[in-house]
Symmetry: C2
Subunit: 970 residues, 2 copies
Amino acid sequence: MIGKIHKQMSHDSWLFSKMATPEYTPFVFLLLLFQSSVWGFPVCQTPQESPTCGYKPGMLNVHLVPHTHDDVGWLKTVDQYFYGDRNDIQHAGVQYILDSVVDQLLKNPDRRFIYVETAFFYRWWKQQTDDMQNTVKQLVNEGRLEFVNGGWCMSDEATTHYSAVIDQMTMGLRFLNDTFGHCGRPRVAWHIDPFGHAREHASMFAQMGYDGFFFGRLDYQDRNRRMVAREQEMLWRASESLTPPMADLFTGILPNGYNPPEGFCWDQSCDDPPIRDDPDLEDYNVDDVVTRFLHIAHGQALVYKTNHIIMTMGSDFQYENANLWYKNLDKLIRYVNQMQSNGSEVNVLYSTPSCYLQELHRANLTWPLKGDDFFPYADSAHDFWTGYFTSRPALKRYERISNSYLQTCKQLEVLGGPISRKGPFGAGDSETLKKAMAVAQHHDAVSGTEKQHVANDYARKLANGWAHCQVLVSNTLSSLSGSSAPRVYCEHLNISVCPLTETSKKFSVNVYNPLARPVSWPVRLPVNGTNFYWSVLLTLSLPFSLSLSISLYPSLSLSISLYPSLSLSISLYPSLSLSITPSYSLYPSIIISPSQSFSPQPSSLLSLCASIVTLRDFLSSLFCVCLSRYNASDGNNSESIQMSGAYIFRPNTSTPFIISKTAKIETLQEVRQWFSPWVSQVVRLYTDSRALELEWTVGPVPIGDDLGKEVISRLDSSINSSGVFYTDSNGREVLQRRKDYRPTWNLRQSEPIAGNYYPINSRAYIKDDKDQLTVVTDRSQGGGSIQDGSLEIMLHRRLLYDDVRGVGEPLNETSDIYPEGLVVRGRHLLSLSPPATAADTHRPLAQEVVLQPLITFTDGELHPSTRLEFSGLQAVLPPAVHLLTVSQWDQDTVLLRLEHQYQASESKEHSQPVTVNLQKLFSTLDVLGVSEMNLSANQWKDEMTRLDWKAESGTHHTGVTNQLSAYSAL
Amino acid sequence: MIGKIHKQMSHDSWLFSKMATPEYTPFVFLLLLFQSSVWGFPVCQTPQESPTCGYKPGMLNVHLVPHTHDDVGWLKTVDQYFYGDRNDIQHAGVQYILDSVVDQLLKNPDRRFIYVETAFFYRWWKQQTDDMQNTVKQLVNEGRLEFVNGGWCMSDEATTHYSAVIDQMTMGLRFLNDTFGHCGRPRVAWHIDPFGHAREHASMFAQMGYDGFFFGRLDYQDRNRRMVAREQEMLWRASESLTPPMADLFTGILPNGYNPPEGFCWDQSCDDPPIRDDPDLEDYNVDDVVTRFLHIAHGQALVYKTNHIIMTMGSDFQYENANLWYKNLDKLIRYVNQMQSNGSEVNVLYSTPSCYLQELHRANLTWPLKGDDFFPYADSAHDFWTGYFTSRPALKRYERISNSYLQTCKQLEVLGGPISRKGPFGAGDSETLKKAMAVAQHHDAVSGTEKQHVANDYARKLANGWAHCQVLVSNTLSSLSGSSAPRVYCEHLNISVCPLTETSKKFSVNVYNPLARPVSWPVRLPVNGTNFYWSVLLTLSLPFSLSLSISLYPSLSLSISLYPSLSLSISLYPSLSLSITPSYSLYPSIIISPSQSFSPQPSSLLSLCASIVTLRDFLSSLFCVCLSRYNASDGNNSESIQMSGAYIFRPNTSTPFIISKTAKIETLQEVRQWFSPWVSQVVRLYTDSRALELEWTVGPVPIGDDLGKEVISRLDSSINSSGVFYTDSNGREVLQRRKDYRPTWNLRQSEPIAGNYYPINSRAYIKDDKDQLTVVTDRSQGGGSIQDGSLEIMLHRRLLYDDVRGVGEPLNETSDIYPEGLVVRGRHLLSLSPPATAADTHRPLAQEVVLQPLITFTDGELHPSTRLEFSGLQAVLPPAVHLLTVSQWDQDTVLLRLEHQYQASESKEHSQPVTVNLQKLFSTLDVLGVSEMNLSANQWKDEMTRLDWKAESGTHHTGVTNQLSAYSAL
């Protein structure tokens, strides 16, 4: 069977089956996933099948949408939120919300509710009785309980990588599908809280089959213009590569963020007056309530296009006692609609986003086109939510390598078969890490905007997922290699800690490459220097690291015995000294003891770089690689009181402080820069590598001067960038950015630094006609180009004030185990290429950073019968094709996603259609049949029909447009 | 028919019927009230009929009692609490509580709930559908929803008068009886929150048929002793006059006030960890919860006598989202009882107070006897809740005269018949004032411990009740007098304001005496002085008052025409000058403009009194009537930080500050004392009166020195009182008090003033062998005898700090209409008699103050046909008999309560049985039959069977005991 990947930057999900016997079987569809669609659809009373949702033609129809917004962790951990634990921090208990909403829905068939976060719904569902489950199914089938969005969480959009987002959406939507069949399939994407919106997210939602998308937060200037222009609802053309309408997504901006209109919040957490309609009691207020409501409804109708408007009746963790809401909403609807007999033309109804969306569609209007994204988000002149692009850099990195580990784990689960889950090392699974990763995508998780104890919980969950995967991986490796020697996982190699390699006299290294093509990967292993590197040991008397480059061939290269042939393997990169103390940080990080007699020497990176021959390619364009810092605004010294905090970046000056004008430099085979005792960097260039590695180490950021600090790496070059730079969207397509400019409105810039920061998920670049300087990051970070030829990327933030956006803690990142503050280490990979071929470098380079090899160790001599090599693929995939997902779906089925990883026109060689032969892809799996699905694997591709929308002409703004003044300022 | 009142101090309710025709009909029972008991009892699954309530013999049975405590006004008004309005002040919405509890009871038949405050339940009930009402009836019949206490509110015990308490209990219990029949009749009295407990309340509860009584608050020393002695459950012998067990009441002290044990509060308002029993989620805590619970249960069992213990699982306004509570309680019961299979001997069950009470009864033990009361209440050494005995003196007075007005209104409703409710002046009713008065009995209403805006609401409700009654009264008077001339009600006579009498040239006064015997009553009417008292006018140029004494004969003396015979009527008390400005206060009160050149003159009351011949009787015993003040503790200058506040009295010294050592004195026919511009007093003695009247006026209390002040009146005499004094209990029986002493434990006195204060509802006295000095008050106040021969009574309090007991406001009593602070005026009536005959004076005197005549006016000439006299009674009642209640019950039935108002042995003449002929009692009503009922009129007297309890011998402590050291200190 041949699957065609016919579009650039498309990615599809494939289900296929493998058999234990290597017998050829003709292609069959596997229908296990969609039993209900085969055994008879229930009639869902969802908008598509129940045409009116109760609106009245000719009237202003007000769609009341009862909803709760349940953060999958924020001020409390996800499980604390579920149970309602730690209500002293924040009153919130999701178990009770779902209990209560179901009860209240049963009391009045008109009532509706939407639920969003499957991570919570799943927890609740498995605690319910059969009776309750049947009741809920009935509510879903009748459209009274509707799922929207439906991912495991509501992803962050600025700091997530598309592969992890697709995974978490798939997990949530699969649960809904397995549980409720097609009536449970969300039709609407609903990102009401994330702090800015990525175009790649819209593209993914479109490819997942959503009919529309609603959100709450956008730049206040953008919103003001859209209100006047009635452009709060639009068609988002979310890809420059995919043919419309493949990535077109109808997108609506909600009227009050996601809150109810002022004065109409009837949750237990609110203080608005209830409807007091008993004339025998004091303060009868029905007339007042109706008057206020009509006033708000008419006002809202002025800034939207149709005679339908939506009101979100709910907010964070609301509906724990749904009776309060519904009792008053029942009354509101009754009393407002009673006015119709007096000539009122307002009709209020219980509704849902899909109901509302359907009425918008029925209006058959044309909608303005949107081509760029919604970054950065500012809620007023000095309040740019660009700090969280970098907040908690250690967690951001841990999330990113956990994704790498999860993909590896899932691949090895498929390759290992049932023994992977129950084998010689016990019971392992990938589910635990899948769930931990899904939770980590939440917009208060990897975003870094949660409380410290919650960040710790996300990390703990990931670590637990690793442990479960490690058993699985050990089982599989044992099965594939024929050796049941215990596997050792050294998770602290980034700080040169690995007890086995440091103490063992003989050990083996096992490397698994999750990419479907060969890579070179530098590995540094700490070993007990007395045996091998006595000269180094003599100078440092400490554990040290060594670099080892292993060429990886598809896909498994097993058990390179390091001893006695170690010298062979490490010949390329002799040992480099680095003074290391044991790590006390929770996340991968490093604590560096500065040399005792630190004194900067008068040498710049420029001259430094000149001393390394292999770095010479950079010299013509790079003036400086500087580590600098901003001091954070404490709200006292400027025209507004906004402080820098977990969400918000606001430096107190627009010029970064140079941490040291000169760095102390050591030159070995690498260049070491010490900017200060707490900021250092190592520059390396590996043979044959197309990229320069900058390994930065920052922390503990000193705060003795009572100033928060935000540390950046700034790359200054001679590239004539003309105020333009480029950043990726969720690690996939790249958008053009322009300093002090937004494509869709006439920006009044009020923050010269923070207002020019954008999310960098995997790469950023500047270019001119001749050169493109690309930085590939190892995690999500924020950055921008403040000066022509310059790229700056924020590395670490330590802040002393809360920025008053709810988290209620300064982003100080201290704990008992790192009381001095967190030290973070990471890598930037710099490549310099002609623009026309730059993508040919940075595309594979970024994928190598995202999916890095898994290295395991075994102690002692390998058994002679050990199988040393294995590859799961019959051959490498074409360079344009990325093996995005290989994952066991159920007993006989595997989910496969192949992705064309090049954007349209970015590579002459690779931005082309490509064909893959699925039948000949895998070495150990026989494909019995393949079913093509939508991106989230909850719908057959050929059953995927989405609402069609008409775009206005002339309103398509993309990141590459030059329409400088498309709209006059408001 | 002859009704016998055979016991002193007993009072019973009678139902009788009147017919329009004056025909004699033999006695029949009227069964209208108890239809269900005639037409077939439902089988109530209440403890009496469902014997076990689920306990397990031989185990420690823990009775979990889910409950909510719903203040009928406190931080919010009663209607705000009902609706959940003003949740910004306090989150509380009773409508939702009842919604939620009913829902949750239906989910599990084991679950139980008790409800207490009928004021709220009534509001909720009338908004329910028939279906819901039937559902609730079923829950009540099955014992799953049980009413306890059941009054309209949970009365205050320190500042209420028994007549108003009986009324409010009757109203609440009647609603339950009418609605639910006998299954709805509460078996248990439940005063979990009032701040100290009155013996008269216990007596009333016994006479209302309650089987037992539970409360939460008592002196911390008392509690500590009782815990060690296992005397937290006892038999309260609540009357020295009634033959046991008529006023015996089993009384239990709850283990945690009325809160759940620490760590087990699962309401939405609490932060305790929920039971996290999903092992897949974080923080599984079942083992921890079970261990902690068993520890608490075993600890509690050590301080109670039986193998049954009770835990109150709820608190203020809890169960708004009952799911939180029940879901966790279900789990608690399941997991704790699961331990029985591992040998645990603890059995947990959903229960109710009556269930628990029945198990205590079944234990067949003897219980310690209690004879005194539970005042004063201290929760720690410097925290005596004796301030609220006086807090908000204006509201306390308004409540008291509203009671008088309500009794009059109810009497006139009976005497007027249907025309009273719909007559020439429109629709009137007594219901509105009944409900307002019932609400005002709440322990945060007349107690003065509510927020200012809530106090305003109570007053507004009472004023609204007056307005409804005024229409009723006008209708009845019109009917009885044959004149439909408009009636004018001058409600501000206490501040000498009555626009009619001040401007009219001719008007009539109509006086109605609600007592069943003749009284003399001084009335002062402001008239336009130019016509009659030009000499006074010349000196003051302001309105003024005149005194008028009218002899009232049974029971109605109608329409004394004041003009032209005014001089006749006022001959006894010629005009007295008083400089008055219009009142701006909400409550009856007065603002006095001090004379411009105020300068105290050197004369004491002693010499003053000597100048008035008719006061001479007092001279031998009275040294001084001084108005003094305490400065309130601000928490800064003493060993604990407790401040004086609405609840708590804590002076910052133990010696009151003399406001002025000398008072400026004017002597007319009365004596006027000006202690300071804001403290004054008028002393009057009326001809033939047995009492001296002290009319005090206090306020606005100055606070310019940043000190709160608590103003007292101190009466110093030569009476050899030996540290003993006497105060009444709720206006009825009198208890002996002894300085620095409690009858039931060895007191360690820590507050020499506040710790010796007791509630004075209607009177206090000191005595020796020769003399008894009795003070009758016109409202509830606090006071004590700090020095031998001295009685001090607190008049007014103005405080600058909150006392941290929840009200969250200083008791400052300012508002827009009296921004300078409240001025309060009141009266003390002093009588001096030989102790043996003192009661013969103070009993009728106090009743005259409680039920004062209603004075109405008509403008102009009376129509000649106007009937001038009417009496509802055929003859006066015997002096020992008080006509407590005459009230229309339903169309053909009247509720009658006759009361023996003398305590045993206090009067040689009156402390005797007395017989009343009901048949010949009323002048216009024919008695067709009489049914004797319990005090609260919710049970036939002959069906009233209460649980019998055995008392230990030798533990009966009353107020008159001399057992100085009955218990050693703990």
